[in-house]
């Protein structure tokens, strides 16, 4: 079965369009959102354990690395959310023309960046108040 066989054209034969990176980004942000979900579960467990465990968890959340990760998870989730809606619209058979798909792709990127900025700003405010 290892004889060289003719291969059907794969990704490399197509001219690059940004919609291609949006497509793979949907998977990457999906995987990142899975890690984010595990972080959410860890946070819920800390909250359920008690005040000391929650204080320790929030101390960890306050470190620069954790903040950077949180911004990354936020963008991942927001992008996956917006692009997921784009996929659901495609599933109804709408918006599949090339020009439409490019336009909705650009719209998703702009929306995701703006929403990320908004959530990060609101998140900073929600984290800033120390009781």
């Amino acid at each position: 079965m290892n004889a060289p066989r003719p291969l059907s054209p794969h990704l490399g034969v197509y001219k690059f369009m940004y919609t291609m990176s949006l497509s793979i980004l949907h998977r990457i942000t999906g995987l990142a959102a899975t890690i984010g979900f595990l972080a959410l579960v860890w946070w819920l467990m800390a909250l359920a354990t008690g005040p000391d465990a929650y204080a320790r968890a929030m101390q960890l959340v306050g470190t620069p690395l954790a903040k950077l990760l949180l911004v990354g998870f936020t963008f991942s989730f927001v992008y996956h959310f917006c692009n997921g809606i784009r996929h659901l619209v495609w599933d109804t058979g709408r918006g599949l023309e090339r020009a439409q798909a490019r336009r909705s792709g650009a719209f998703v990127i702009v929306t995701a960046v703006l929403l990320t900025a908004l959530v990060v700003w609101l998140g900073c405010r929600a984290l800033a108040v120390v009781p």
Binding site: T34, F37, L88
Partner: protein, 125 residues
């Protein structure tokens, strides 16, 4: 003339042998997650996250606990289906593929169990 057996046609499972169940459930959980995640994110952003009492008081409310439970179960389900597609597409060794799929399944079930336990504890204790 179709070469498919009548039984195969009725079962509707196609060449891969498990039909459209995976594809459909991924869409069903995706649709459910639109309101659930939006509600959770918006609510969370309006809370004093550093305050244990405020967070505990919020998640301890009956309806909040119910929807938080629905949220974590639906996320775990949707995430399990998504990771499965990625593993099936990019991991080609039979052993490593099976091992990764099992690992992903166990991690997702454990995560859902832990999250449900945490939410129930906050709502009931």
């Amino acid at each position: 003339m179709s070469l498919r057996t009548p039984l195969g046609r009725v079962l509707g499972k196609g060449a891969a042998g498990d039909g459209v169940g995976h594809w459909w459930l991924q869409r069903v959980t995706a649709v459910a997650l639109i309101p659930l995640t939006a509600w959770f994110a918006i609510s969370l952003l309006g809370k004093q996250l550093q305050s244990y009492d405020a967070m505990r008081g919020w998640l301890g409310q009956p309806w909040v606990a119910v929807f938080a439970a629905l949220l974590v179960v639906t996320i775990a389900w949707h995430s399990k289906l998504g990771v499965q597609v990625v593993v099936e597409d990019y991991v080609h060794g039979k052993g490593s593929k099976t091992a990764l799929l099992l690992l992903s399944l166990f991690v997702h079930i454990a995560a859902a169990a832990a999250a449900l336990f945490a939410i129930l504890r906050m709502a009931l204790v």
